[in-house]
Assembly symmetry: C2
Homo-oligomer: 396 residues x 2
């Protein structure tokens, strides 16, 4: 018996509306999972996240393993008790850090040796160790330990990733089923991660490896790692029709609001991304018209809330006020935009779900694509560079 259950209640084209039930409650899907790398949303309390309707908290095994360590979290009652988050929770396996911390790790068939990004000490992650940590942390959904390649990796390197990802999945499943630790198969759902880069045959081979284990969900990894928007959609077009339809489908680390609309239209159910809080901290509000850089001169005396259509604690104040806080270096500015962005993402998911249920998702998506304008190329590329640098710290 699986620790989670999933029901699709409506479809519209390939898009699905459903309910994901975990030991810590149910969430409507498609759902966006806000990132709490170290066990806390950046700049946002769990109370605020709950008030905004956040459904699932996502934390990171690699970071929590280094600090404060899984034994301490376990001693303090597990990640739910530790963080105060009462709802469903997912932990990543550390496989993404194989990519994002590429400069500080060495891979063998056994596992990965990291040099800690904190103090340089050596730290070993294997499938067994990743699952052991995730069992001690106690999230409702845990992830198999995989090897995530870069978007521009050679085909041969991606083949090697696939081999390791398949072998590590076997070992992850065994460690998840082993009876000698807290948590595990009866209390936690394990998802396999499909890799394969931008190669259709390698993606399909990785999926075949994944589905063999009949796990409670399926994750697509190795996207949002530097590939183009078009390449990302191409992979979704190849893969979505073949992902097990009775189980939740999780697209890891994606993405912008437009990414979410495109992926939902292709049948994805779960998402996570650092963008809402990271971009909020750095002065950007997401809206149906695209990202709004609140520091721009045109908003200096703008009395409107950043997004009149999305209620949040940021709705009580003006663009001018938030700009004032941002320009003054007050963290409250970034907090308010993080709250807005989380509210916006939640509302976007809720609107997509309602459209799927009503059978109007195609219209919704078309309208969204028409209204959502990404930032001008110049600003965007400079932002991407900054984001890239920050992403290398790999911290929500």
């Amino acid at each position: 018996m699986s620790a989670i259950s999933f029901n699709v209640i409506a479809t519209d084209g390939a898009a699905r509306a459903g309910t994901l039930t975990t030991p810590h409650g149910s969430v409507p899907t498609p759902c966006f999972m806000a990132v709490a790398t170290l066990g806390g949303f950046k700049g946002v309390t769990v109370q605020q996240a709950e008030d905004l309707g956040q459904g699932i908290m996502l934390s990171n095994t690699y970071h929590l393993a280094l600090r404060p360590g899984p034994e301490r979290v376990r001693k303090l009652g597990g990640l739910h008790a530790f963080t105060g988050w009462r709802g469903p929770m997912l932990t990543d396996s550390g496989g993404y850090q194989v990519f994002s911390l590429a400069a500080n790790r060495k891979i063998t068939d056994e596992g990965v040796w990291f040099r800690s990004h904190l103090d340089g000490t050596a730290f070993n992650l294997t499938p067994e160790e990743s699952i052991r940590i995730q069992r001690l942390l106690g999230a409702d959904i845990i992830m198999a330990f995989d090897e995530c390649p870069a978007a521009d990796a050679e085909r041969s390197a991606i083949e090697a990733c696939n081999r390791r990802t398949a072998a590590w999945l076997e070992r992850s499943v065994r460690a998840w089923r082993a009876p000698d630790l807290p948590g595990g198969a009866n209390e936690q759902a394990l998802y396999p991660i499909v890799q394969g880069g931008l190669h259709r045959d390698l993606r399909e081979a990785s999926l075949a490896d994944a589905v063999r284990h009949e796990l409670p969900g399926t994750a697509l990894g190795g996207l949002a790692v530097g590939e183009s928007f078009a390449d990302r959609l191409q992979v979704l077009d190849w893969m979505c029709p073949h992902l097990p339809s009775a189980k939740p489908r999780y697209l890891m680390g994606v993405g912008t609001p437009l990414d979410l609309v495109e992926a939902v239209s292709r049948g994805i159910d779960q998402f996570d991304c650092v963008l809402p809080t990271r971009m909020g901290r750095h002065g950007t509000a997401y809206t149906d018209n695209g990202p709004m850089r609140v520091k721009r001169l045109e908003y200096a005396e703008d009395p409107r809330p950043v997004d009149p259509d999305t209620p949040s604690q940021a709705s009580r104040v003006s663009r001018a006020y938030i700009q004032h806080l941002l320009k003054s270096g007050e963290i409250l500015g970034g907090q308010l935009l993080s709250l807005h962005n989380l509210a916006y993402y939640q509302r976007l998911m809720a609107r997509m779900r309602a459209a799927i249920v009503a059978g109007t998702f195609t219209e919704f998506a078309d309208k969204f694509r028409a209204s959502y304008v990404d930032a001008p190329a110049e600003a965007e590329s400079s932002e991407s560079t900054k984001i890239g640098k920050r992403a290398s710290n790999d911290d929500g």
Copy 2:
């Protein structure tokens, strides 16, 4: 007719419980006013501050004049509309910056020339300009422009401060009564500020200057500027019996929880201080047992909330968790402690008020003095140094 009214509903010894009514609502006194230097509480949204029962927001004329400027705030509807704060509000006059930014200003009888702490540009504050700015900002209570001397100033320098403070009070009152600007005497209460350093006769002379104008409240300034705890209490012992009893008495910039208990016991009604948010951001929680440095090793696995007796968003998590956030450099740690500290200060004021009404204030204060232990001398002095450095930036 005054813009505010004040009713003492109970006394217990010199301590007073009352109600202060302003154009933006009533607050029970004694009351603590949380500091929002630039128009935002640091790390705390107005919604959170309201939920914690904060009564009055305090902002700073000097800082808001430099950025975003009073004309812009006015254009956006005044400080209430600008910040989203619906309750009573007080603005300081900039007189405190005469002390705190002493390295960057020049005083004449006309007023004070500052070099902006932001970009070095010259900025002039006179009584007329301070009141003009405060009228544009639109707080319920505004402060006369004064000259605040350092605790260790020569007697002759303090005499000169008194002369200027008296002359500037005259000019502040005139500017407050002038009909040609928004706000002013019909909508805003002006408080005079009593200076005089640690000299009883100079304090009494300054008070005599202040009361002559029959303004709606009285403020004691020039404390918490480097004098000892004993000296501070000495000044309160001299002055409190002579402060007009029918009007609210405001002790500016003070202080620690113990300071508040001592001052309430002597008849003070209003307080403001940056300590709850500043110390929270830097890892300290206030409790009835004194300040708790949450990063201390002994709390690394402590499952209790920082203060089991004070409900706030921080009560949902453990000391161990907040220590983890602080050690990881997550701003959420400082946010949670700021929320706790504001909740603690509010609760302390409410407990004092209840004790005054019940006629048990002496017992409450004695019990508090016995339980409240300040940090060990070593830690305290290093903290004081740091706080002193931060205070010189003079920013909540």
